[in-house]
Symmetry: C2
Subunit: 279 residues, 2 copies
């Protein structure tokens, strides 16, 4: 496994590769959920490139950029074990030099949900992924379904700008009790960790109601809220519950599959997100 | 010469090309100035791709999108004669399908001059060029120095987004009396056509003053204004005269080469632009 630190070297490495290139851009601090995605990327491509870059432009001013958990030696050891070929780890000043001033904006789909709560977050995500896609020039880039809105934003960017790669979406990986794996779970204290399963339980309830024939999104939403409010650490901290078209993210009155049910709840310090797709 | 009408076909054609690809995106209605650029592109590359696309997103609501001069058969005949290999002519609905919502914004450098007068113009230019660069994947893309700000915007986009091509800038081609060639010159009535040479004469005056040692941009600007005001059809129609850093387009008090002197003057219907670089 080769670690590449500059854009010029990464482009040079890329020019010399022949075959299918799989790419996974991550903020790092890897967990088992990430590794399932990496394994799929390695299995499906001739070469796998992983970038580790805590991208400042996707964090808000009052968010956790400085405190975002980092453990590069551990990350690199885990990626080496999975037979990743290249790890691209650029410095912030290399990705955003002085006078940097170009932004990729995916409009409409970014107005609500995570985009509504975190202004400029998706502008940062789209811009850094656009840059990384141009540097690595992958055939496929892998993302987790856990960040459902992010996946839709990036698919829209790739389609609208006619970029030459496929966005591959990998299923959310969960802890035994159902909590979606996330680097931010490390912020949870023991009692918060127990309470955090309420997100998955609310999604499971939505799935059950849909399976029984319920199509009224108002009823499903109210049932989810009621369930979450039984958990004291979550009760007053629901950011949103969304039942929306799985492509446009427009809210629905009646479920029309595929429909994505997503929610964000603050539990202790971190704001946790999760979703399922009703099909 | 092959005419390609869909994005999918253009991408397929591109995948099969081996060698250096030169690309020239144009709105069409070609003139001799364009052809010098095409000849250089053909000479410097193994294959030349030209796109003809009157891009609606770079025209303002009250601008001349509908009336922009078009003569595709004539354009194609001229390009065939220059031994262009491929002409890409997509439909508007192919480039901007329903729900299109992704924009490339180059900030700061677009705030003033043409960007100040034509809001969203450079957003349209950057977005369509980003799309075309992804579709055609050229090694080099050719643009005319006449659109000085456009060249800087596109160079900035390519650098900031780490795109894999070089922007090649071609000198402005002029009529015998000095008027910069432009498709919009066809809008000029005979007396306006004569008056239009005042832009070049003002630039030549700036060059002469600089050659004689004048560095004070205020003095040079005032001399240019005085000269233009002697031309009745131009006198009250100066949009701007700018003497700015040739890379950042920031206005200068004292000339520090390379400095770009640019101006926009409305003569009759069209707004004409021109520039020179003091070195």
């Amino acid at each position: 496994m080769k670690v590449v630190e500059t854009i010029a070297e990464m482009k040079k490495v890329r020019r010399e590769l022949k075959g299918a290139i799989g790419f996974w851009p991550t903020l790092g601090y890897l967990h088992e959920g990430h590794l399932e995605l990496v394994r799929r990327c390695v299995a499906e491509n001739d070469f796998t490139v992983v970038s580790i870059f805590v991208n400042p432009t996707q964090f808000g001013l009052n968010e956790d950029f400085d405190k975002y958990p980092r453990d590069y030696p551990r990350d690199l050891a885990m990626l080496e074990k999975e037979k990743v070929d290249f790890v691209f780890m650029p410095l912030v000043g290399e990705m955003y030099p002085q006078r940097f001033s170009t932004w990729v904006e995916v409009e409409k789909i970014t107005d609500r949900l995570e985009g509504g709560i975190r202004p400029a977050h998706f502008r940062g995500v789209a811009t850094v992924c656009n840059k990384l896609f141009n540097i690595v020039q992958p055939d496929r880039a892998y993302f987790g379904q856990k960040d459902a809105q992010q996946v839709l934003v990036l698919k829209k960017m790739v389609a609208d700008l006619n970029m030459n790669l496929e966005i591959v979406v990998c299923p959310t990986v969960r802890e035994p009790d159902g909590l979606a794996m996330s680097s931010r779970n490390t912020y949870l204290k023991p009692d918060e960790r127990k309470a955090a399963v309420v997100l998955y339980r609310a999604l499971t309830l939505a799935q059950e109601l849909w399976d029984k024939g319920e199509k009224d999104t108002g009823k499903i939403r109210r049932a989810m809220i009621k369930l979450i409010q039984q958990e004291p650490l979550a009760a007053d901290n629901i950011n949103y519950i969304s039942i929306a078209d799985a492509e446009t993210l427009e809210e629905l009155d009646k479920i029309e599959p595929p429909t994505v049910v997503s929610l964000a709840v603050k539990i202790g310090k971190p704001r946790l997100i999760d979703n399922i797709v009703l099909e």
